[in-house]
Amino acid sequence: MLLDSYRPKVIVTKIGLDGHDRGSRLVATKLRDSGMEVVYTPPWQSVSAVVRLAAEEDADVIGISSLATDHLLVPDLVSALHDAGLDHIGIIVGGIIPDDDEQTLLEGGVHRVFHPGSSLVEISDFVRDLAIKSRTRSLRKFQVVSNEES
């Protein structure tokens, strides 16, 4: 599959209650300036709203920014995406995440946790790779479905 020139689609959002957005704005701006298509939402999204948006936008990656305790909702998001048949979507989390919780997130299907001090270039490179992997997974899923149909 020739995905080298693929333009990834990324949702940058905040779920739960917090509203600090310096990090999410910087990341969203960097991803956009690196040529990705970015859907940037207001804070306080519900898990179901993010799932709906991911389906409508056919997103490759969802980036969740959490500066308080909202990362505790991420496992709910992972399972809701799974239930909606969107488990090919890559998930990254950025912000203030205690070590114990990071372990739980990574074991629960989050692809990477970025802490304060992470470089935007590193984040953007990671997201591009992750997006191509998710797109590949999604295409495979689609092919399986079409084969079954034919």
Partner: protein, 561 residues
């Protein structure tokens, strides 16, 4: 004994010496790097009487407590009364808060704070949000009963209480409800409505932004008018530079935004017929103190000088108490690093020192582990000890405005002032701060500054120890797991809320609610009075915010990249 030579600028000898120094400097350092501070002011290697001289003393500095206030707002400053050490407290349910508060009071504190849970910030009662998210970052306070429990066996008339209480100020309403219940006159209730600056929430810290921009504009003025008439020892407003600077604004921009915002609020009050000589006395400010040491000191000194000029010349206040630029400072969390976290103790010490030299009235020092998680008790204790060490061991508060007269600090104060005024002029030109945030101008400026700073860090032009320089191969993590209330504690809080709702008088509730709705619909009425009466009549925090949002609109920040 040989007399010291008096350096005179017209003295050709002095000029020759300076020329010689310049020559030597350029020879030894032919490729000197360009250095600018965070506000973009170029920093020279040496400052001399060519940059600032004492002939300007009366105009630019004066004496503490006198115009132009550069050297401080009180004649005695920290020598007379030390700054308040107001640390943030809030965790769990009201009984947890009460326990912590009483410990602090027993230890001699009288300036206290109340930090509510994030669910409260967003305008919800505990039964409206996912239980996973409540009680970790602050205390759950939804009803007059909850507030009463927070202050059980505590004399609220003897305290100065700073509450993080965004519009429409439900926590103050609950506190006044407790005072009424205990027969305490509202004249005796003192403290500050922190997080009352809705403009800073609209552009930067959205967590606190609850009502539409227009709705907020009305509620704030109603609140200031109500407090002035009924709770005269309460500071109804704290104008915040901290949010915009934490979000990425430069120190000069953050000061300019704050002053422009204060002008907006003052003019909104004056347009309602209120007297600047009275309401301005209760305006307070809140700034971020970053690690850019000299720049922060210059920022605050310049801010004091600009504010007294605005208050006298533009707002026409004659009461000298209104000329005082009273501010709280918080050391910057953005400067702290997750890498080698104990280094943050050094950073906070430098920030605290900058804050003290800048002449603040109240200081919060961040815990070193803030970047890892909600601070542990040990880290919070070190943060307080840092202030005590700076003040009592190092003697840094013994002299008022000790850096005054430094060629560098005075020249930088002047240049920061110019830069701040320039930005304020640009805001004036678009019709003031309200218009400037409505159009997204301020948000774009903040975003650009945040990106500029981040790029400097990534290019290595701005060193951050342990992040882009002096990194360790292996990081030792000291992150403690987050302290969370147990499920049974949260359950008990939910039950007490359910009991409160079940036991309140339905007739009183209905009447409180209809009064609130009619006040919201009639701009001639004071909506804040209806809110205070509302919680006394049995409305909960979440209900007040919900009904006010229904009437005045939900606060939705603009998303600008």
């Amino acid at each position: 004994m040989k007399k010291a030579k008096v350096v005179n600028l017209s003295d050709s000898g002095a000029q020759n010496s300076k020329n010689l120094w310049e020559q030597q400097y350029n020879q030894l350092l032919p490729e000197d790097r360009d250095i600018s501070n965070r506000s973009g002011i170029p920093i020279k290697p040496l400052y001399t009487p060519d940059d600032w001289n004492d002939e300007n003393y009366a105009d630019k500095l004066g004496y503490p407590g006198q115009i132009p206030m550069t050297r401080g707002i009180y004649p005695t400053m920290h020598r007379g009364r030390t700054w308040s050490q107001r640390q943030l407290i809030g965790y769990g349910i009201p009984s947890d808060y009460n326990e912590r508060l009483r410990k602090l009071l027993d230890a001699g504190n009288n300036a206290i704070s109340l930090i509510p849970c994030n669910s409260v910030y967003r305008g919800f009662d505990a039964d409206e949000v996912d239980p996973k998210l409540i009680g970790t970052c602050g205390v759950i306070v939804n009803t007059v009963d909850d507030m009463d429990r927070c202050f059980r066996d505590v004399d609220i008339a003897a305290l100065s209480t700073a509450m993080n209480d965004p519009l429409p100020f439900t926590l103050l309403a609950l506190l006044l409800g407790v005072a009424a219940r205990r027969g305490i006159d509202w004249n005796q209730v003192s403290g500050t409505s922190n997080q009352s600056d809705y403009i800073s929430h609209y552009v930067a810290n959205h967590m606190f932004f609850r009502l539409s921009l227009e709705g907020s504009r009305r509620v704030l003025v109603d609140h200031i008018a109500f407090c002035q008439a009924r709770v005269p020892n309460w500071n109804p407003l704290s104008v915040v530079g901290q949010h915009t600077q934490q979000a990425g604004a430069t120190p000069a921009q953050a000061m300019a935004f704050t002053l422009a915002t204060a002008i907006q609020y003052a003019e909104d009050c004056a347009n309602r017929g209120m007297d600047p000589d009275i309401f301005l006395e209760r305006f307070t400010f809140f700034f971020d103190i970053s690690i850019s040491f000299f720049e922060e000191i210059a920022k605050c000194r310049a801010g004091r000088r600009i504010w007294q000029r605005i208050v006298r010349e533009r707002l026409g206040a004659k009461n000298p108490k209104t000329w005082r630029f009273k501010f709280h400072g918080q050391t910057s969390g953005v400067d702290l690093t997750r890498q080698q976290p104990l280094n943050n103790i050094s950073r906070v010490s430098i920030q605290a020192l900058a804050g003290i030299f800048s002449g603040l009235q109240s200081l919060h020092t961040d815990a070193y582990d803030e970047v890892l998680s909600v601070p542990t008790e040990e880290a919070a204790r070190i943060a307080i000890a840092t202030q005590n060490i700076v003040r009592e061991e190092a003697g840094c508060a013994d002299v008022i405005d000790p850096l005054a007269g430094s060629y560098y600090v005075e020249s930088l104060t002047d240049q920061m002032e110019e830069k701040i005024v320039e930005t304020m002029d640009q805001i004036n030109a678009v019709g003031g701060m309200f218009k400037a945030v409505e159009s997204g101008l301020i948000q774009r400026w903040i975003g650009e500054s945040a990106m500029r700073f981040q790029s400097q860090v990534e290019r290595g032009e701005q060193t951050i120890v342990g992040v882009n320089k002096y990194q360790l191969e292996e990081e030792d993590s000291v992150a403690e797991p987050l302290k969370r209330p147990t499920e049974s504690v949260i359950q008990s809080q939910l039950e007490s809320l359910a009991n409160f709702k079940a036991n309140r008088s339905q007739a009183e509730f209905n009447s409180a609610l209809s009064q609130l709705q009619s006040a919201a619909q009639d701009p001639q009425k004071n909506i804040y009075e209806a809110i205070v009466n509302g919680v006394i009549g049995g409305l909960t925090h979440g209900e007040v915010v919900r009904y006010v949002r229904q009437e005045l609109g939900f606060g939705q920040p603009q998303m600008i990249l």
